[in-house]
Every structure is written in structure tokens, then in C-alpha cells.
Symmetry: C2
């Protein structure tokens, strides 16, 4: 099943069911006004949404309309929590070199995860407004999951059953702040502005054999200003989403609609390229003694697409431009 | 003006206006269904709520009822963001000693701040469910502000005008996780379960001369299991809330209803005591070579009350018990 959110005059937008080929959509407001409400009552809503999805795919949904992914908001424009891991250790190790930070203790056995802002997620085609090119603007291609409510101290095997949807994310990052914010020990704040989401959230079954071991085993194709940048595969994630959810929930409940991210997809094989500029810069530093790829400028574009075995894009496509934020007024 | 939230069957609860003496309340649902909605439309709602407040204080509000602070939810049971600083440097320096962590670079000139979970705030009299006494359970007495929407890169002088309400907070902390989570650089996650809020949020003018320089210049009285623990004053905050809001907003907008915390209130004068156990333990370590005060056990209680010059408690009282969380089931 595939779901998307279109904008209306509410913070949560309106829920639509999208056909498997992303060509058509139909309103789901008779089932739930928005995706957050559906997730809060998932055991009731999920089978009803699935019926609608089957009818839509069969060309039998009433009031179906052409789906324009450029009109999609993030599946959850606001979410209760956004906890983002760094679950590809290949990336983490390269970033330690790039940031010249101390090795993280126990990174092989305990996931590292930061809490990010979840009140202002961007849609797949929305411009990314930022105040200053000097902040070291970067993209990060990731996968994520959206959960039903998860109780405090939930073990991984129970956490797995609470995964409602899988998503594809651009975790926009400002590298100029990262090293200092890490050294404070308080974690990322300036370094992590609003994240963006591919247009469509999908149920795990929709990914077929590409959903295995609570991982998305698909290549994530990254193009930067129209050039290939990388296609690392989600299969190399060192912790599955079941482990990441359990980690996030150890001392708190996770409200329905919480989003858990994988961190930048990264593969040991350097031929796979990278899903963020900072990682390429780290590799340049290691291989050539110097980073040569600059961070993003206003006007630069990034395109991200997970690609299934049949060549399709199960989540649709993220294609965004960096722009200068307007001057602050109130 | 004083506002509170009573529980109903929605995530945001229902908004009530509370009399200055906290004795009476009246429904504000004709103005806004809940506090979050009021903050999203504050320029319309604030004068209407203030009229109701004046009528209530004059004994002229229709349908007024006795206010029971024990029934209050957090003013915002869910907030868009929760960014908590460590703006009392006396506390920060003591914690560096207690955690044996490296000094934070630039702590004197740049606020340190972490992003916490904001989807599940507790009311002032609610039990605090936690999974394990071995995690080093602690309280932290703080002040905070709730803002209207703040634009990205907002300067402090503009930020000051976006403060809608002032609140009093118990930022529950699990000290067993703090040092490791700080060393990862990713910040606090396990170390920061749900925070709790005093029953009443107040407009800055309600504090009279105790609101000055964007600080709450009141002593915060902490009792632990019925014994005095401290009464540090908010006046010694090294950064005002205007600076803290501007810091939080440098690379992101803050949605209306975002909560910005001061961090543990802490004074250089040791006779003022402490607003958290970890700080007392750090002082014990420094003064006696060893920490002797244990962290909290299930059943332990903490009471927190900011006290005005006339002896009143402008925010009401936090009085909470630590309990064992139920086993996770779904």
C-alpha cells in the first residue's frame, strides 16, 4: 500500500492513497482525515486503506485523480518525534575522520541516534530555505520507518510489529556546525534543519523481498546537479529498524507517527559512491589528502531515488533545490 | 494571564483560563479549543483570553469552576519542539566535573542546547513511569518559555517579542546514560525521558518585576521526599530566553508552541542548594571526594515551586512520584 499527503489548510494535510505505479490517487478522508490520525488508529484504518488501494490499482476507485508527486507534502508534515540513527557504520567511521572527532565508544554494539526537529518536514519537491551558504550545506540520503505507538522499553521483536510505513528521506545537514555541536555533547541542533521526505510512504510488504531483516535492501540513487553522486544500498545497514526503534524507546514511549531514520546510506565499496557530500569529502581527504568537493550553494539541486529491481521508484523521487531563506520578520 | 490545560479525549486537551490565585477557572473553548491552537493564532486569541482572565479575577466569568491543579495536564501535552539549554553555567561546570567530560568549547559565549522529545509531556501531579531504578533517575528544576512562531535566523530582539508564555518544568533525567550519550556527540536520548510541567503557564507581565532581562528572577524551591533540597534563583541565568530562542532558531523556524528551556536552575552560592541530584552529587564529590546522595528510587517524590515575593506560587506546584513503568505490551 502506498500513501501520500496533499496540502490543505491544516498542519497535517490530507491523506490520499496512491496507486502502485504512482500515476493515480484517491481521497482517503472517509477513513482518516490525515496520516497522523490513521496511524493513531492503524488497526482500524490499515485494512480499510488497503481495500481502497486495491480498488485504485484495479481502476475501480471512485473519484480517482492523477497523482502529481510535485504537489505532495511530507507524508507527515509534522510528526511527534524524529529520531535519526547513524546505522551505517561505514559512514560513521568516515565522518569521524572528516570531523576529526574521537571514535564513538561502543558504536559497533549500541546504535547512535540524535533527536531532530519534527514540526516542519518538507515535501519531495519543495525548495530548502537556509540562511547562509557558509554553513556547509549538505544532503543526506536515508531510509526511515514510521511507527504505531511503541511502549517504553519495547524489545526489538515487538518493535518490528509496530512498523507501519517505510519512507525515504533527505536529512539536510549543515556541516559547519557539526563538529562543534558534537564536541558539546548536547548533539546536533544548528547542524540539522528541516528534513525532507519522498512523496510516498509504503507499507513494508510493498517492497517485497527488498524488505528483509528490517532493512530496505535497495540502492539509493543520488544525483547532484544532474551528475551521478552515488547509489549505496540499504542492505549494509549495521542495525535493523527493529533495533533502532527499541533503542529510541528504551526510556520513553514513541507516539504513533514517530519517524526513525537510518542515517546516511553508505557502503564499504567505494564504487557505490556516497549519499552525502561530507562522506565524499572524507574519502577525498583520506585518498588524496584534501577535500575538493565543495558543499552546496543556493540554486544547487539534489535528486534521490531508491530503485526497485524492476527499475521503479517505490517511494517516488526527492528533487530539491537549496534557496536563501527570506530575512526574518514577524 | 494564567492558562492551563485539562485533559479530554484529544492529544492537545482543552484550554482553560485560571484565576490569579489559582482558585477558579473557566472554559476558553469559545476562543480556542486548546492552547496549541491559541498560540497559532495568538494575536487574535491573546486579547480575548485576557478579557476572560479579567472577568474571572473579578468574579464575573460565567460558568467558572474550582480549579484543581492535580487535574491539569502539561499546558501543552504535545509541543512542536522542545529545545532545552544549559544556561546556568554554574551547573554546566559542576556537571563537567561530575561526568568527567571535557570542557565544552565556547560555553561562555554560545548557549549549549539539546533537542528533546515533545510528544508526551506530563502534568504537574502525574506519576513519572520509568523502566529501571538503575538508570540513575533524577529531577531537574527549570524555567521555560513557549513561543509564537519564530522565523529562521530570528535575532534576540525579535525573539523576545515572540515569547507568549512562561512555564516551570521538571526535566526528568537518567544520569546513567548521560556521560556515554555526551561522548557519542549525538546528544541525549535515553538520558531524557518525558519532561513535566507546572499546572499553569503565565504571560510574562504576570510575573511583574520578576520577569526582567528575559529571565525569571524567582527562587525555585525544591523539596525531595519532604526535605529541603534547594532554592536557586533564576536571576543567575547566563543567557536570557531571548538569546536561547535566537540560538534555537538560527537554521530553522520554530513552530508556534515550541518550548525553550533554561536548563537546571543553579546558583554560585552553595547555600542555595541544587535543583537536581546530579549537581548535589558533583558538589559532594568536589567537597568530600565522594558522592553520597543516591539517585531516585520508585516511590520517591519531588516537589518544585517557584515562589513570588508575596509567597505565592505563580505557576502552581509540581509534585510527582517516580513509579515503575508497566511491562511493554502492544
Amino acid at each position: 500500500m502506498k500513501l501520500a499527503t496533499l496540502k490543505n489548510d491544516t498542519l497535517d494535510g490530507r491523506l490520499v492513497v496512491v496507486s502502485r505505479d504512482l500515476e493515480r490517487a484517491t481521497e482517503a478522508s472517509a477513513i482518516a482525515p490525515n496520516l497522523l490520525a490513521a496511524l493513531q488508529d492503524w488497526s482500524r484504518c490499515e485494512p480499510l486503506l488497503r481495500q481502497l488501494y486495491q480498488a485504485l490499482n484495479a481502476g475501480q476507485a471512485q473519484d480517482a485523480f492523477d497523482f502529481d508527486p510535485a504537489q505532495a507534502a511530507a507524508p507527515l508534515p509534522r510528526a511527534p518525534q524524529w529520531c535519526d540513527a547513524s546505522a551505517f557504520l561505514n559512514h560513521g567511521r568516515l565522518m569521524e575522520k572528516a570531523f576529526n572527532t574521537d571514535p564513538i565508544p561502543d558504536m559497533d554494539t549500541i546504535p547512535v541516534m540524535y533527536q531532530g526537529a519534527s514540526d516542519d518536514f518538507l515535501g519531495a519537491s519543495e525548495d530548502i530555505p537556509l540562511p547562509d551558504e557558509a554553513h556547509g550545506i549538505d544532503f543526506e540520503g536515508e531510509f526511515g520507518v514510521i511507527v504505531q505507538q511503541v511502549p517504553m522499553a519495547c524489545p526489538p521483536e515487538l518493535a518490528l510489529r509496530r512498523i507501519a510505513l517505510v519512507v525515504q528521506i533527505n536529512d539536510v545537514s549543515l556541516r559547519g556546525f557539526g563538529p562543534r555541536e558534537m564536541r558539546t555533547g548536547f548533539g546536533f541542533l544548528h547542524a540539522k534543519p528541516s528534513s525532507s521526505f519522498a512523496p510516498v510512504a509504503v507499507t513494508p510488504d510493498e517492497l517485497g523481498p527488498a524488505w528483509e531483516d528490517a532493512r530496505v535492501k535497495l540502492p539509493l540513487h543520488i544525483d547532484y546537479n544532474g551528475q551521478w553522486f552515488g547509489h549505496p544500498n540499504g542492505a549494509e545497514m549495521n542495525f535493523g529498524f527493529d533495533r533502532l526503534i527499541a533503542h529510541a524507546a528504551l526510556t520513553r514511549k514513541l507516539s504513533a507517527g514517530t519517524v526513525i531514520g537510518s542515517g546516511t546510506v553508505s557502503n564499504a565499496d567505494r564504487a557505490a559512491g556516497s549519499a552525502c557530500i561530507a562522506e565524499r569529502r572524507a574519502i577525498e581527504l583520506i585518498e588524496k589528502g584534501k577535500s575538493t568537493t565543495p558543499f552546496m550553494h543556493f540554486g544547487d539541486r539534489v535528486r534521490m531515488q531508491a530503485t526497485a529491481a524492476d527499475g521503479s521508484a517505490p517511494f517516488g523521487v526527492i528533487d530539491q533545490r537549496i534557496v536563501k531563506a527570506p530575512a526574518p520578520t514577524v
